[in-house]
Symmetry: C2
Subunit: 258 residues, 2 copies
Amino acid sequence: MMKKKETKRPVILVTNDDGIMAPGIRHLIKLMRTIGDVVVVAPDKPQSGMGHAITISTPLRFEKVVIDHEDIEYSCSGTPVDCVKIAVSKILFGKPDLLVSGINHGSNASINVIYSGTMSAAVEGAIENIPSIGFSILDYRFDADFHPADEHILSIARKVLLKGVPEKTCLNVNIPIEKKIKGVKICRQAHAYWADDYEMREDPHHKNYYWLTGEFIDDDKGKDTDQWALNKGYISIVPVQYDFTAHHAITNLKHLEE
Amino acid sequence: MMKKKETKRPVILVTNDDGIMAPGIRHLIKLMRTIGDVVVVAPDKPQSGMGHAITISTPLRFEKVVIDHEDIEYSCSGTPVDCVKIAVSKILFGKPDLLVSGINHGSNASINVIYSGTMSAAVEGAIENIPSIGFSILDYRFDADFHPADEHILSIARKVLLKGVPEKTCLNVNIPIEKKIKGVKICRQAHAYWADDYEMREDPHHKNYYWLTGEFIDDDKGKDTDQWALNKGYISIVPVQYDFTAHHAITNLKHLEE
């Protein structure tokens, strides 16, 4: 476990993928302000579905912004992962005590973690050895009600500040839509997937264009998954790692060696 | 293992992240044409560093293009992952027998896999249960010489067509810059990372902008890593999985349950 001493107020870096003006990040900033000194570095526009994208072919920009006159805030032209990298390298000139990303408007449970900009920011934090948490609520609406999760979010953040997270991991926290949340469960990622589809439309110039749609299919029967916990009204926490090696498969592939 | 019967010529979907006109994909198409019926669905512009990004806030477009008069080819406005999704859903109307992505101009070994559009296309293939391989060469140059790897690339692709890949994995194949390649090694991803930096410049309007730079640090001493194999002149193959759960960490986090 990476441990942090609490000798003074911790520095908390806040980012997201819905953009710096999204209600989810504004709520998370307010909560984090009660337990630390907040620095916000977040995308200047929505960056949902950006996964672990980074900006390499164009330059990045960031600028100081004043939104609610309380914290140090920067809006950045890049992706959520860019925000973390540039925050550490050129804004904080070092690592924060905690990185929180979100609160995402929409689930990042199960397979959604791989497409999520919110979670990729937390994963980038883990890569950089920063205790990192991504928060998401299962509500896509702009006026989602985040309040029922307040005490849980603060409790998780406080515990991570005290005890850190297991080495080379970050936490994927998903919040059910409940007036009264039942509790918090540590889970594995459900083996669910998206059955993709595209809706075709015709533009005024008679050319076709396609909107990604699809159906979320969860056929994982386990009672230890994030989807199970969320369906039962619990907050799910999945520890997330970033070694993509399928270690169990290495011996099955020796026929490819030459 | 997912097995495929070879009763007729297999359908091979080819994509990449450097864009449909990049020499790497043109070379891969030529190779694949010798062992199957090729369908190309690739980005209409460079999409390096896009990770597992998908396009959800804007619609997608794709159109048939004729480049060297040999294969069925479509250029797509989206990311590499979009290309795979729309190929299966709206172009092939089903799954190909093999998906190959690349040949990427530049390494996707070690931690690079997480940022790579080339590899994310292969991972998306794995998610969709398609035998999938990403190929990359450790040479960023436009005129990289791909020929020394030809026989190895074909051999790997043929073996995957015959025997498939382990369930819920795809292959991350990296090719060293060598006139004579020593062989092929099955590896794990090295625990290496980028020490990020940004180069600041001033635009003509006296505003700062930042280019991502940085140094690749490999302090993994293992002799079973992709970096080790590549440094020794071997092609590295890492089986890649997409369950991000840090299973080993679940029991260490029970203090977060409520």
